[in-house]
Amino acid sequence: MATKPPRSVNLLANLPLNILLYAVLIIPLAIMIYISFTDWNPAKGYDWWQAPLSGINNFVRMLGDVRLGAALGRTIVFVLVVVAVEFLLGLGMAYLLLAEFPGKRGIISLIIYPLMLPWVVVGLVFYLLFADFGPVVNVFLKAIMGETFTKTSLLLNPTIGFTVIMLADIWQWTPFMFLILYAGLSAVPKKFIEAAQVLGASSRTIFRRIQFPLIRPLAMVALVLRSLEAFKVFDTVYMITRGGPGSTTETISFYIYMLAVRYYDMAYASAVSLVLLIALAIVIRVFVKYAIERGGA
């Protein structure tokens, strides 16, 4: 692999990619780094390059920003809960579907369809289910609370609203965990399992001592990728609660969106984005090194 690349190939491999990345990502990022050290707000009537520098004011402000802390904490809780549930459910289903039976291919094909749906549609579906007129209020709660129970806006309760956002994520992404873990479990050589059975091991021991250790690296990749993906959560928040009531179901992505798009607080939004970007870049660097050194699963 150490051969020197011919100039033509080298040029094609680097130039188009770099032009594209510079044109829409790197130049804006450079501007963002600059703006995060100013106090620019478009409402002030001048452009960002005319804005006075404000030193590290924006970064100091982050330390005392309760709403930022709450959004970050909420996002972390979200990631921990949904990824854990998705992993356990996905692992359980992968294990149950391991044995051959008629119609299995069809069931697996059906299981994966939520993965293909746009996130917005998933958010919409869960919003409709839990909205005032939806079946959860009109069928389930009426059955439990009696016919006189008419209207409660479930989504106006922050805990319920946030739970619904989690449910939507679990609904859509459990199939992702399932598919990866199923692929891993089916790749475990049959003779290992047969040998253990001959020796009298129970299916629980076989799972704990043979199957799970063999898929652990794969499970690691799945867990990290899913966590990074879950950390992005925005679309379902927008569709289900719009971060409300107030800012009680806001996630970090949603807070940045509010800062930049609703409050025009560009300088502060830049600072928050920058810090988040740097923190995640370190995590991702470590993970990518791990994943690639293993030879890409």
């Binding site: 829409v24 909205a131 925005f234 949603f254 798009v261 994943a291």
Partner: protein, 284 residues
Amino acid sequence: MGVASKVLRIVAIAIFMAWLMIPIVWTLSLSFKPYLEWRAPHFWPKNPTLLNYKILFFYQREIAGTTGGTALTKPMITPLINTLIVVGVSTIIAVIIGFFTAYGASRYNSPGPFGLYFTLLTRMVPPATFVTPVLIYYRMIGFLDTQLGLILLYAAATVTYSIWILKGFIDQIPREWEEAAILEGLSPLRAMLRVTLPLIKSALVVSGLFIFLMNYSEFLFALVLTTRNAVTLPVHLTTYVGGSGVLYGAQAACGIVASIIPLVIGYVIQRHLITGLTFGMVRA
């Protein structure tokens, strides 16, 4: 295996399937319910209607009958065309650029580990961190609410997928084939285009369809960067709220219509979904 555990397994699978199917089937059913049945507790529509779908394609004043709201909605034809143009063009750009980069990376380690890591980084961090810079930059250069602006952004955001998916495929093709062609007198560039490219044609299609799926679902940037001219389908979906009523039935119908294309594409490439979603780290 005992009968009891077999039954238990079937029950568990059945519950899981019901959990996955009921929300979407209920939405499908809602999309055929007339206004008066939206709050009704029955699952299937008693008087099925196509009115909810009509609202999607016509202005409301052209439709007879109660639509359940006075929200002024626009037909979804323009957003649909916008989506197809933006997503189609950006996908083609991402696949072409991704192929060149993947080839260089696979054969000559050309863009180097840092370049490849940066592409992964742009894809793994929350897109919200790029909202502020791109918004400021696009306002400055006049790209707001244009198809071109979205196309370039989507191409840059998804080129990662084509690089990593295609690199996996190119890695599997023996290097010796190109080396033989080069010994026969082909330039390295021609060896790439004449030997490697034809061999991974189907991989190009797979990565293209996967990227199409990802771009089609993109919501945050479309929401922030478009207002009228370049609105895409996911953003259009959010406009069925307002006036003195909320068009629940139409929202459901719009969700269903918006899901058709991704479902078809998803099932065409279902064997490769995991490869794509994990940047080629996991191959099913």
